[in-house]
Amino acid sequence: MIVIALLVLVSIILGAASLALFLWTLRIGQYDDLDGAAERILIDENETDTTQNN
């Protein structure tokens, strides 16, 4: 009995944690620019460094 109660508790805490995580991503606007996020990985972040090397 105590095992079931414990498992239920753990699963609910895990679920609540992922819910909180989702709400956080929503709040900081991670879904505002879905197309942009896909393209931004192509931008070279070290661009300023390479220009210095040239």
Partner: protein, 748 residues
């Protein structure tokens, strides 16, 4: 004051202060397409002094710039222009609507979490848990359900409360009553150790309903009004000439009749007036929808919103900003937009009938059972199961689901729907009214007689034309690819506003423009259907170029298909009668009306509506905006003016008119499916209500029935996608056949 300062003031007016001395400006740049653009803009704009942060949003094609206040606003629009992006100021009023969507998604997430966990526990209870475990699970469920009720249920409760307060009722009233009673009763049963608790039903009810509500919100028309765009057409102010001869930039509200002001080339006319100095070509597309500029001289009247193209002019105001042409248009739009709010959506009409039935049903069930066995608890259980089982889950999903799928399929065909109501209305139309220029035709002139001009002359003329921004010059320059054009050593090009372009090459004076100026010949005005430009050297005509505005390749087929669907078709145009008549004849004798001002177009549509017709307006120009706003439903091509696009309900991006038929047929399919879904939901209730009435519904049956009805509705809605796929293939085939613009004029 020079033009950059004016732009700076406009920029400042359109910005909002987000912190001490920190301003935020949102610019719209439709040219943003890829990672390269993002990087170019973000690094390029951040380099400007005083700019703190730049962020590009690729989905909305907007650039948000934070900048520190100093003497001048940073030249953001110019800088974006130099980077190769045409940008304009965008109003930042989009925030509130985004917040509403976020609230819905947040509520949906919480309800989903609660429903899933409670359902998991309920399965344990249904599987036959012993009494101790059952009570424990009921308690845990109650603790999960409580925040869900408060947080996710709030949306329904507040809507129901405001409906009740105003003496009415809506779909949210039975939902709220059902959810609250269910929860309270389950809580009571949990405390007293009862056998059944309906927490799962209450939370999954909220979850399913929130799905429908969120989908509905996504397709609902944004509260964007074309009026804001129209207001922006009049500049914020103008350089008014003071009595001592100097100029001062005054806000538009302070301009009084009789004041004189300078209008630089490239600026819009702020108020109605008369030209007192200078000459120029003026683009009147705001008034008549034609891209062809008219040359204008001293003494001519100009209307607010018209674009001064080639030369600086001075105008004397004859109106204030409140009585100008633009203000008249704004008033027209306002009345057109308000007259439209009468439409009631199918879902709302159904719920209006449905809500009282559910209420009365539940109350009857309670009374009957109370009278029969005198047990209030049992009677309440039956009443609750009636409320739950008749839950409008399937009904709440019936329309938004179909509309989301329809909108998605159309989007893949390059058609954007701005609201679910647009699709519903489109299915009901009985007539279609087209604008001519830019809608049925390409909207820009094509050179028709390049074959008759010898190649050397054509090359020379095209090369000179490349130095002018006049629409005819552009069309002429396009007839010869740039590598083939003559490269001139000198920069001897002068543009003569109202006349044409002049260039001195090897001592000879070449002129390209109006007859009478470019050559000694008198202007001939006998041809109505095409426009001519003369190319002359030292007063002698070398060539005459003829321009026409060609029909779009798909126009004729699209109109034929619409006629086959028993829709009546008309053309309303601001253009002269000749060209309109010719287009109408080429399209198989379509009834037409020419020389119409924006007011007249709207009046025509209002008259049709009064006769009981439901009109689809297809138009592109700013001059069509009132008609687009006033029509039962409206469409605009993607190349339309910004204001035309805002005023229309549906936008088709690939400019081909087959989009009109595709959208119409999809709308009709969608309507059929919505009806089927609603019919199914009602049928399901017809079976379920007697069962609930007799007291046969347990939490298990309620959960199964609710889920299956929702799933059936979703599956039925998905059928729309399959039909659309075939349509898409057909459209692509059509497009490949007709790529080149067909020109309707034979005189090549």
């Amino acid at each position: 004051m020079n033009q950059t300062d004016t732009a700076g003031e406009e920029l400042l007016l359109a910005s909002r202060e987000i912190d001490d001395d920190l301003f935020q400006t949102v610019l719209s740049a439709p040219g943003i397409k890829c990672a390269g653009c993002i990087d170019k803009i973000e690094s390029g704009i951040t380099k400007i002094p005083n700019v703190v942060r730049t962020r590009v949003n690729l989905s909305t094609k907007r650039v948000t710039v934070d900048w520190k206040k100093s003497n001048n606003a940073p030249p953001l629009i110019d800088a974006l222009g130099q980077l190769g992006f045409q940008a304009h100021l965008s109003n930042c009023d989009t925030k509130p609507s985004d917040n509403e969507l976020r609230t819905l998604i947040r509520a949906l997430a919480v309800a989903g979490f609660g429903a899933a966990n409670i359902m998991m526990l309920s399965v344990g209870v249904w599987a036959g848990a012993d009494e101790e475990t059952r009570t424990l699970f009921h308690w845990i469920s109650a603790f999960i359900a409580l925040p869900v009720m408060v947080f996710s249920g709030k949306i329904f409760f507040s809507s129901a409360w405001s409906a009740l307060k105003s003496g009415g009722t809506n779909m949210d009233v039975p939902i709220s009553a059902g959810v609250i009673i269910t929860f309270t009763m389950s809580l009571y049963d949990t405390i007293t150790g009862g056998q059944h608790a309906y927490f799962d039903a209450a939370t999954s009810l909220l979850f399913f309903l929130l799905i429908g509500r969120t989908l509905d919100y996504v397709v609902r028309a944004r509260a964007h009004s074309a009026i804001d765009g129209l207001r922006k057409l009049a500049p914020e102010g103008a350089a008014v000439i003071q009595p001592d001869g100097s100029t001062r930039y005054s806000p538009i509200e302070q301009i009084q009749p009789g004041m004189e002001m300078r209008i630089p080339a490239g600026a819009r006319i702020p108020v109605n007036g008369t030209i007192t100095d200078g000459r120029s070509d003026i683009d009147h597309s705001v008034i008549n929808g034609e891209s062809e500029p008219r040359s204008t001289h001293i003494g001519d009247t100009v209307l607010a919103g018209a674009l001064n193209l080639t030369g600086p002019i001075v105008i004397k105001a004859s109106s204030t900003s409140n009585t100008s042409f633009i203000s008249d248009m704004i008033r027209l739009m306002e009345s057109a937009e308000t007259s439209r709010h009468g439409y009631q959506r199918i879902a709302d009409r159904v719920s209006k009938l449905y809500t009282p039935v559910v209420h009365i049903g539940a109350v009857l069930a309670f009374l009957l059972w109370f009278l029969i066995d005198g047990n209030a608890h049992h009677a309440l259980t039956v009443a609750v199961s009636v409320l739950i089982i008749t839950c409008p889950c399937a009904l709440g999903l019936a329309t938004p689901m179909v509309q989301v799928i329809a909108a998605q399929r159309l989007y893949r065909n390059g058609i954007l729907i701005k609201g679910g109501t647009a699709l519903e209305k489109l299915a009901d139309i009985d007539s279609v009214i087209f604008d001519k220029t830019g809608t049925l035709t390409e909207g820009s002139p094509h050179l028709t007689n390049c074959g008759t001009v010898d190649e050397r002359t054509l090359r020379l003329a095209a090369s000179i034309a490349a130095h002018s921004s006049h629409p005819y010059s552009k069309a002429l320059a396009q007839s010869i690819p740039p590598p083939m054009q003559v490269q001139f050593k000198t920069n001897q090009f002068t543009e003569h506003p109202g006349d044409g372009i002049e260039s001195k090459i090897d001592g000879a004076v070449y002129r390209l423009g109006r007859a009478g100026w470019a050559s000694g010949d008198a202007e001939s005005r006998d041809h109505k259907h095409y426009s001519t430009v003369i190319f002359g050297v030292s007063g002698r005509t070398l060539a005459t170029f003829k321009f026409i505005d060609g029909l779009k390749p798909s126009a004729s087929d699209a109109l034929k298909e619409l006629k086959n669907n028993n829709l009546s078709i008309e053309i309303l145009s601001g253009d002269r009668k000749g060209p309109v008549a010719e287009v109408a004849a080429l399209l198989g004798g379509v009834p037409y009306f020419a020389n119409l001002r924006p007011q007249a177009k709207l009046a025509h549509i209002t008259k049709q509506a009064a006769r009981g017709h439901k009109v689809l307006m297809v138009g592109d120009g700013i001059n069509d905006a009132p008609a687009l706003a006033g029509a039962y439903v409206s469409m605009a091509p993607g190349n339309a003016a910004d204001i035309g696009r805002t005023a229309a309900d549906i936008i088709f991006l690939n400019n081909g008119l087959e989009a009109v038929t595709t959208t119409y047929l999809t709308a009709r399919n969608a309507k059929t499916l919505i009806r089927q879904n609603i019919a199914f939901a009602i049928l399901y209730n017809g079976v379920a209500i007697p069962l609930a009435f007799l007291g046969f519904i347990t939490p298990l049956i309620a959960a199964i029935a609710m889920s299956t009805s929702s799933i059936v509705v979703v599956l039925n809605s998905l059928r729309l996608g399959m039909g659309e796929q075939k349509q898409l293939v057909k459209t692509i085939k059509n497009k490949n056949v007709a790529r080149t613009p067909t020109q309707y004029h034979g005189a090549a």
